[in-house]
């Protein structure tokens, strides 16, 4: 039976004044873009797993060298190439140095180079890409042609050149990465800015008299931030890899300062007899890169507006 045939009390049909204000209340809790992205990131178990590993490794890198009785240079020539034991969880190397401490001091170097070696070039890339995309014309052409030319040759060549010029060591590596690593970010930021520039909200604030700096920093860069944050995260494993690679071939971090690549380099010479000396730093490099990649993948999915629901 239709409810149209039900007898209803008379006052059911009394008029009610509806204010349109009330009806415009949105019942769904409004979620900002970043809050929504964070919620989705937190729900992503794989990404959170990656983040947990990154935090554990960072904690170990910070605290192990502080609380250990050994230092990364202290030699014990009576106990060289020892296998892992209670005293030396990762064993000792050919100079009798405790690998447990050396690995975590190396982690400090590798992580620092990885993180700064990704963030600094990205920041440079944002600025240059932003300028190139925003101003367009000749400026854009010169910057883009320059990038085209430089990108014809693998980054590694420039990095090696720069390290020869300014020396080796963690800071020099970061500088080398900064000078060579900004081009990819610059290119993609420029591409995004070119697209955004055509959009109405930018046109609107330009008509309202916003200055170029204001436009770039208030509108254009925030809108590209998501992608840049993702590419920074993804840049960390590749910077860790580059550091490891350079140290592995003897051009990066120089002894006695350890880094994972450098430990792997020392390990490979005794690989056939004491495989653990290579396998431990190799596993740490791989696990760290994996964790950053997993976290980066999760971040990318969380920040992708198309997946927002």
């Amino acid at each position: 039976m239709s409810n149209m045939q039900i007898e209803l009390p008379k006052d059911a049909f009394s008029r009610v004044n509806t204010s349109s204000k009330e009806s415009e209340l949105i019942t769904r809790p409004s979620i900002t873009f970043w809050a929504d992205a964070r919620r989705r990131l937190m729900k992503n178990k794989v990404a959170m797993f990656g983040l947990a590993i990154i935090i554990i490794i960072t904690m170990l890198a910070i605290f192990v060298p502080v609380f250990s009785e050994y230092t990364y240079t202290k030699q014990d020539l009576t106990n060289t190439n020892a296998p892992p034991s209670r005293e030396h969880p990762f064993g000792t190397d050919s100079h009798g140095r405790d690998l447990w401490v050396r690995v975590w001091v190396g982690a400090r170097v590798s992580l620092a180079v990885g993180i700064f070696g990704s963030i600094i070039p990205s920041l440079i890339g944002i600025v240059i890409g932003g300028i190139s995309g925003y101003f367009g014309g000749k400026v854009d052409m010169i910057i883009m042609r320059f990038i085209d030319i430089v990108m014809c040759v693998p980054n590694m060549i420039y990095i090696i050149l720069i390290t020869i010029y300014i020396g080796t060591g963690p800071v020099a590596l970061v500088v080398a990465f900064a000078l060579t690593g900004w081009m990819g970010t610059a290119r993609s930021v420029r591409g995004m800015i070119l697209q955004l520039k055509e959009q109405e909200f930018v046109l609107a604030s330009r008509t309202l008299g916003a200055s170029p700096a204001n436009l770039i920093f208030q509108h254009l860069i925030p809108n590209t931030l998501g992608i840049v944050v993702v590419s920074m995260t993804m840049g960390v494993p590749s910077a860790i890899f580059q550091e490891a690679f350079l140290s592995f071939i003897g051009l990066g971090i120089q002894p006695p300062i350890p880094s994972w690549g450098q430990l792997a380099n020392l390990g490979i010479s005794v690989f056939r007899i004491y495989p653990s000396q290579l396998l431990i730093p190799a596993a740490l490099i791989s696990v760290t890169m994996l964790s950053f990649n997993l976290f980066g993948d999760g971040l990318r999915d969380a920040l992708d507006p198309k997946l927002r629901m």
Binding site: M151, L161, S286
Partner: protein, 306 residues
Amino acid sequence: MVKYIFKRLIISIVTIWLLATISFFLLRALPGNPFQTEKLMTVEMQERMMAYYGLDRPLIEQYFTYMKNLLHGNMGYSLKYTNRTVNSIIASTFPVSAELGLRALAVALPIGLALGVASARKRGKAIDYICVVVAVIGVSIPSFIMGSFLQYVFAIKLKILPVSQWETTAHTVLPTVALALSLMATLTRVMRASMLEVVMQDYIKTARAKGLSEGRIVWSHQIRNALIPVLTMLGPMVTSVLMGTFVIEKIFAIPGLGQHFVNSITGLDYTMTMGLTIFYGTFMVFANFLVDIAYGIVDPRIRITK
């Protein structure tokens, strides 16, 4: 079309010229000289060597001499390998690197793309998770670790494949696999992402509304469009792979081009570094040109009309 190719050619030549010029002056700005590292040489002998190779002339004069020779395709003598021209060193080592690279690509390209497609098609299923996990591990393990690991397991422990050298087909297996794994992982990731992007496009819904079977939609609508981003990265990827990879060549003692990239720079072998840079750059420009043509075939929107 002819006009377009001509224009591209001019741009390529200018690019390579600028590249050569930048590298030339960048290299010379480095402290030290090529003969310093050889301990047995006295300062006087070093100077004689510098004079012998014309390195004592004014820089600008050296530059013009170098460019003139380069125009004739002559990249000069290596400063480290006595009596060997840069051309001959490249000619003898490049084929080895290129062979290794081609083998790796022949393995990685079909498998990587196929896994990307399979993974995207079965999104959220077991196959997808396996592919995603394998791919992320593949891009997370540096080649030198993967190379050493494969060598240790298959050559040293199991003794089923040769440890190193580049002689028989059996020798090529481990380096090929080591190189192919990371390429494959990258291709899988890019192809999967691209397939998932395309599947959300309206024209896939149109194809579905026409009553086409899923297989047909994937094959004739999805894959072709999904290949476009893959093509973009193929130019640099193919170049870097064919040019040799230092670490893998070092681990497996392969007489390829890769070793020279690092050794020539650290040894300040100016002519060798210059030669390699120019060779690499030219190859990259050429590869990108081929990619652009392939682009035009796959995507009619950017087909050259001028």
